[in-house]
Symmetry: C2
Subunit: 106 residues, 2 copies
Amino acid sequence: MKGLTELLKGALEGIVLQHISKGETYGYEITNYLVDLGFEDIVEGTVYTVLLRLEKNGLIDSEKRKSEVGPPRKFYKLTPAGTDYLAEFWTKWTFLAEKMEQLKEK
Amino acid sequence: MKGLTELLKGALEGIVLQHISKGETYGYEITNYLVDLGFEDIVEGTVYTVLLRLEKNGLIDSEKRKSEVGPPRKFYKLTPAGTDYLAEFWTKWTFLAEKMEQLKEK
DNA sequence: TACATGTATATAGTATTACTAGGTAGTCAC
DNA sequence: GTGACTACCTAGTAATACTATATACATGTA
């Protein structure tokens, strides 16, 4: 789906953190994952800015590893702070989603 | 709930449009409504910027009416374009909310 | 060799949006 | 006439996702 840019603000970092929490992964894979999920507008540049910001904020750690099919990959995993942050994210998201559901039904 | 600023981007205009779609209303009332809903960080200035933007974009119309308890109120209602836009908004929101639910459960 | 394709990361600049922090003004109770 | 509540407005800021582009490794192929 297209035209989700504004709705993704704030949500995208939660999506990325959640995906990383399920297993170490890297930007290029995350981008493909998101596009496959249906977020058509998401391109590599968007994902890299999110990853660099999350790392700068101490929510994820990275480790560079060689690849046999291209340049080295930077694998990310959550830090303890990132795990806490992700839990808070879901609290906020759930709050918003429930309010939205109430509004939608009225 | 606090700290929802980023998640509200894109969602707030939908919330406001949905509320207006249920009956003509004005900024001050909308602000109180949102705070009562639990959006603690939302203040009048935020709502007015949303309303002025929506009107500028042709999604709502306004009509000034006298009040007996204060300054005149600007009552807003949806335009046909606003009604269409609101329907699109819910399509996008529902798409995102469903994806988020899938991610959350995994 | 040269070139295209796929893999992989990075970043400067832009647009959009919500929030901050004020200002103006009408009505009413004290 | 002062304060509280009602009601609207706006310039500036911060945060975020997107655009556009650059760099570079690996592989197949012309």
